[in-house]
Symmetry: C2
C-alpha cells in the first residue's frame, strides 16, 4: 500500500514526523508537505503561479516540501511524486478540526478532501493543542494517536473505506485521560462565535485581528466530545454538499466496526 | 434589506460593479471585497496576520477593500462595516463554479458559505468566461444576469431562503442563447481531470503549473447544463458534510417556485 503523509502545518511540524513514524512500517510511505505552515487555507489551489518541489531529508527520511497549499501538495504528490496513492493521512494537526465551520476552512481536512476528489481514501488527524511542542508532551496521548493511526490504516488496507464516506476526521483531546474512548460523532455546525479585534498601529492606522470565541457545544457533536468529554471524535464526512439528489448512504456497520477496533487498540 | 455584495476577484473586477448595479435599488447595498484577486482561496481565513480595511470610491459608490480573503471579507463586513446583513451576493465571478471540485476551492462560493455559517442567506453568481472583459461583451447575457439577480433578491426578501438550503450557486454560460433557461441541478463531482505541467526555468530549475482538463460531464449536472446545453444552472448547496445524522430536507416547492420566477424574468 502506498501511503501519502501530508499536513497543513508544514514539513517541519512535529505532527508530520509523528504521523510518519506511526505508520512507516505499514506500507510504502511518502512524506510530501507544504514548506511553510498553511493553516486555514481550506481547499485553496494555486493556479496563478508556478509551484516548486524540494527534496529534503527529514530525520533520515526522504521527504518532499512544496511551495503550495495542502491541496496543491496532494496534487503534486499524486501526479508527480507517487505512482498510485492508496491512502492519504493528513496531520497531525496542531489544533482540533471540529465543527463544519472549522472543517470548511481547514487545510488539514482540505488535503484529505482533495484526496477524496481524486478517489483516494483519506483520514485527517488533529489534536486540541495550541503549540507544536504540546504534541510531544503527553506520552499516553501519543500512544493513543499511534494506535488509532495504525489501526485505521490496517482497517482500510483490509476492508477499504466505509461506503458513502469520503473523509474520516479524527480529533483528539489535549490530554489522554485514562478510559478515554473513540466516539462516532457528527460535526457541530459552528465552534466559534466570530470576533474581530480593532487596533491601532504605532502610526495611528487601524488594523484588525480575526479570532473566535468558543460557543457552547451541543452534546453528541465532535466539539462536545473533544472539548467537554475529553474523548476522541471520529467524524465521517462526505464531499457531497448537494441538496438535490440522494447521497449514498454510509455503511454504518463498517463505521461501527472501525470504532470498535480503534477502541480495542487504545484500551 | 441590507445586502452585502462581495467577490473573490477583487474590488476592481467588473463583475463586482455589475452585481452592485443590478441590485442597488433593492435595499441598502454595501460593497466590500478583497483588494486583490483571491481566486481558488476556498474558505481560507486569516488568523496569523492582521487585516486592513480601506474605504474607497468605486464609480461614485462608497466601497470597502480588505486585505483578506473572501471569507475574511465577509467577517469584516458582518462584524465591522454593516450592522446586520440580511443577504450576501457573491460575484459575479470570472469563470463558472460548477462541480463540487470547483465549489470546494472557490473563493466566490467560500464567501457565500461563510455567510451561511453566520446564518445569512447567500447567492453566488459565476459566468463561464476566462477574462473579466468578457463579462461585458454580451448584452443579452448581462440582461439575463441582471434579471436573475434582481428576481433572486426579491424572492429572498419575500419568502426567505428555501428551507434546507444554505447557499444557492448560479452558473451562467459564456453567451446567452435565445431560449436559454434556468435549470435546477446538482453539482457534478468533478469537472477537471487534474494535470501538472513540469517546466524548467532559465536557470535550469524545475517548476510546475497545476491545471485541469475538462472531463465529460454527466447530463443533468451543473457542468453539463452550463457547458453542453448553454443554460443557466441553479445549484442549491448545504454546508452539512456530515455523513451521520439526517440533513434537513430541502423545500423543493420553494426551489421550484424560485426557478419559475427566474425563468419568467429572463423569458
Amino acid at each position: 500500500m502506498n501511503i501519502l503523509v501530508t499536513n497543513d502545518d508544514g514539513i517541519y511540524s512535529p505532527g508530520l514526523r509523528m504521523l510518519y513514524s506511526f505508520v512507516k512500517d505499514l506500507g510504502r510511505v511518502y512524506v510530501v508537505a507544504p514548506e511553510t505552515p498553511k493553516s486555514a487555507s481550506g481547499l485553496g489551489i494555486t493556479l496563478h503561479k508556478p509551484l516548486r518541489i524540494s527534496k529534503m531529508e527529514l530525520e533520515g527520511v526522504q521527504a518532499y516540501a512544496t511551495s503550495g497549499t495542502p491541496s496543491d501538495t496532494v496534487y503534486l504528490a499524486a501526479l508527480e511524486i507517487v505512482d498510485r496513492i492508496d491512502l492519504v493521512l493528513s496531520g497531525i494537526n496542531v489544533g482540533d478540526n471540529t465543527s463544519l465551520q472549522v472543517i470548511l476552512s481547514s487545510g488539514t481536512i482540505g488535503a484529505a478532501m482533495q484526496a477524496a476528489l481524486l478517489g483516494i481514501p483519506a483520514f485527517a488527524f488533529s489534536v486540541d493543542v495550541n503549540e507544536p511542542e504540546e504534541l510531544l508532551e503527553d506520552p499516553a496521548l501519543i500512544s493513543a494517536i499511534r494506535n488509532v493511526a495504525k489501526t485505521a490504516v490496517k482497517f482500510v488496507a483490509e476492508f477499504g473505506m466505509p461506503k458513502g464516506v469520503d473523509v474520516i476526521s479524527l480529533n483528539f483531546p489535549r490530554r489522554f485521560r485514562p478510559g478515554a474512548v473513540v466516539k462516532l460523532a457528527p460535526a457541530a455546525k459552528v465552534k466559534f462565535s466570530q470576533r474581530v479585534d480593532k487596533r491601532r498601529d504605532p502610526r495611528g492606522g487601524i488594523y484588525y485581528w480575526l479570532y473566535g470565541e468558543l460557543v457552547k457545544a451541543e452534546p453528541g457533536t465532535d466539539v462536545y466530545i473533544v472539548h467537554e468529554e475529553g474523548d476522541i471524535a471520529l467524524t465521517p464526512l462526505s464531499l457531497n454538499m448537494n441538496v438535490l439528489g440522494s447521497r449514498q448512504e454510509a455503511d454504518g456497520a463498517a463505521l461501527q466496526k472501525l470504532v470498535e477496533l480503534l477502541n480495542r487498540s487504545i484500551a
